[in-house]
Symmetry: C2
């Protein structure tokens, strides 16, 4: 291990420069305008896997954005680890709030700023570099390794899901290793064992067939913005509970033991509120902040647009308005079932003075993974060694839609070895990744292979 660790230290600057090249590619998956960049990014990943010394490296076409695969299977009798990551990134707007351009990686205070830095290019790249460290020094890895890196995580992973279902032999493994989550806080080794699911909807409310003058028509025609406001307001009650009938039917209650574990983390609401710049937190009554984020379903309006939105004043009564509304789900909620309940509820909330269209844009199942598997134990030992601190087990409010698919289809435990931080602005302007954690992550990955081979 000493050789590996020294090699990783020695190549620190090379890794950062390579990561910069990775981050320069605007691989935004949700916007077709970036399809060429997506292809270019898949090629980049392919070349990096080849350079690392992996075998059978290939870009795999799908109906959407391509997958990248690579493997090293020469550790006979040893377990096989499937490493997953994604090379696609979120859109960048509001672009004007970025201090440096999102696709010109910039280092400040040992943090690298760029879209995708922490979610997930920086984190996926750690494992490519740990494998490379083995193959470039001792020429072998203590375990068998398979990589599957996708380009549709930010839009629901639907093509990877199909690929997994059809290629269970190719992807067969003893555990899945994923770095796409966060550390509990700076310098604290963390494993995440639970992820929320997602049900992402779009609601369009349509009133008059065209925009009208608010003077000549105001007061006699239902205003779509006012009507949608009522709908949004009525989706959550005054106790912070979602009003959709049967919404909570499948929610697994938080156990006493888990509640207690959450408490032990001594989470500071005050510090958290300060960090995000609000004077008061809010949410579902009867639950702590960690319980609300990690183990309770929630609903948020992600965006809204309608009518005149420029500078100044325009006295228009708009024809329509559109909102994106998403729900985070917890075990055992089913996103498809929730989407149906949502649609039905929206229709009952809509008055007959307007029309409504409801679309289900994408979803993800919630998941909780076992924490007593050999792979999880190896990962916790590896991180404790590298960080020199005791491991923290936590859950996470976000979703990695593919995790429950891996767990179910490959019947393998999933190790969520996240090296990001929730304060690293993922999905926001000025996304960044702590370069110290990047380096610790490469080492944690390398130590994990060693521990898991024992």
């Amino acid at each position: 291990m000493k050789i590996i660790s020294e090699y990783i230290d020695k190549n620190k600057n090379n890794y950062i420069n390579e990561l910069k090249d990775f981050l320069k590619i605007p691989s935004i998956s949700t916007d077709p305008e970036y399809n060429k960049d997506i292809s270019r990014c898949a090629e980049f990943v392919k070349n990096k896997l080849k350079d690392a010394g992996l075998n059978n490296v290939k870009v795999i076409k799908t109906k959407g954005h391509p997958l990248v695969y690579g493997e090293w299977l020469k550790a006979k009798g040893k377990p096989t680890v499937l490493i997953y990551g994604h090379y696609d990134v979120q859109p960048v707007d509001p672009i004007e709030l970025w201090d440096t351009p999102p696709f010109e990686p910039t280092i400040k205070n040992n943090k690298i700023f760029a879209r995708g830095a922490t979610d997930d290019k920086g984190q996926a790249f750690m494992h490519i570099k740990s494998v490379e460290a083995y193959l470039k020094t001792v020429g072998s890895i203590p375990v068998n390794v398979k990589f599957i890196i996708e380009g549709e995580e930010e839009i629901g992973s639907s093509n990877l899901e199909k690929f997994i279902n059809k290629n269970k032999t190719l992807l067969k493994c003893d555990s899945v290793l994923i770095s796409d989550t966060a550390l509990y806080d700076v310098g604290t080794p963390t494993l995440t064992y639970g992820l929320r699911g997602l049900c992402y909807m779009e609601v369009e409310v349509i009133g008059p067939k065209k925009d009208l003058h608010s003077g000549s028509f105001g007061g006699v025609v239902a205003n779509p913005i006012n009507e949608l406001s009522e709908i949004i307001f009525k989706l959550v009650d005054k106790n912070g509970r979602i009003t959709i009938p049967s919404f909570y039917d499948d929610v697994k209650k938080i156990t006493y033991k888990e509640k207690n574990n959450f408490k032990k983390l001594k989470f500071s609401d005050k510090k958290f509120a300060e960090e995000i710049g609000v004077s008061h937190l809010s949410g579902e009554k009867g639950f702590s902040t960690l319980e609300r984020i990690w183990a309770r379903p929630t609903m948020d309006c992600n965006g809204i647009i309608g009518g005149f939105t420029g500078d100044g004043a325009k006295t228009v009564l708009p024809s329509k308005v559109k909102a994106k509304i998403s729900m985070r789900l917890v075990p055992n909620q089913d996103p498809l079932k929730i989407a149906k309940l949502f649609k039905k509820h929206i229709k009952t909330l809509t008055p007959n003075t307007v029309k409504v269209n409801v679309k289900h844009l994408h979803g993800a199942y919630p998941v909780v993974t076992p924490i007593d598997d050999k792979s999880t134990i190896a990962a916790s030992k590896a991180m404790e060694k590298v960080f020199g601190k005791k491991i923290v087990f936590m859950r996470e409010g976000g979703s990695v839609p593919i995790v429950p698919v891996f767990a179910k289809q490959l019947k393998a435990p999933v190790v969520l070895m996240g090296l990001g931080l929730n304060t690293e602005n993922l999905h926001s302007p000025n996304e960044h990744f702590n370069l110290n954690h990047f380096q610790l992550g490469i080492k944690s990955s390398a130590y994990f292979f060693e521990e898991y081979a024992k």
Copy 2:
């Protein structure tokens, strides 16, 4: 009159071509990007007034967009008419819904399509042409005439208001003639005697200091869109009444006589709903559609924007959201007082989990003008002659902010001789003006001068 009328008929095509040139200038007053076009448009009006044969024609600078003045004062002992119009226009978005480009005037079915066609370039132009018809044929007008054409009607007329207050001698007149309203319906001569006022506000709700990941933060931080939805919803109760305390204090009740007059117009709710493409009308309980539009205050959301509004899905918890909300007012409501009440009410509706900024963008006083003045009687006779039908007196839901200023500062009755139609998409895509009404308007203006001089 025969000579005048024949001259107007003969020049029909010339008028349309000149109007086209007027409509080609994108004189959008609310957007500073069009300031040069505004100046160009003022020059255009100046030249048209000169060409018509008016004296003392000048462009008058203000702190905002310029005014254009012209006069003909050689009708000794006869009354003086101040003719007002505006050369500025509304913005064009949503631009994608225009069938022909907004600044490329296009004639279809004897209607001219362009931004500003009916509001107000087409209507203001009628009076320039009627004056021209007199001066180019008989060489004199039966009454004295002053023109004041402004470039800020769509943004509140604040600089014209200041100009009026300081130039009462220059603008001294016996009546004010304005064509910036609508006919009751196609081919029906109409005079409008009431206009609603306006109080236009902007509300911004701010949550976290930056956009957040809805997974990592959803459910523990107030979402600005959800909060603003609640505020908007709570502004109007289930009976369609505005909930701002004291909002209705100064509202003048509709008299029995007026209610009866409205009824006589046999307004068809069904036809009206069909025209605007809604299955049901809605509004304040206890009032008819015409009462709601003409004589009751209303509130509408004119626009809203916040969070992710592009195609696809982005799981963001937005930092802020902004809405434009305006109220139409009726006598004797005061827009400044209403703005204060609105601000106060919004603050009481806002929870302590978010911040709120409320701005008063602009306003207009409501007005009702006398219908028994010599000028109104002359206008009704003129229109009845030209249209060959009995005049209809109506009120209007929109505002012409400068009308109450004229009435108050110049102590003159205002004649609202509108030739537009409320179905002509003013403030909407595909704005147009009926060219038959354009021609009837030029003649109505000419006959009015003759009647008023008697």
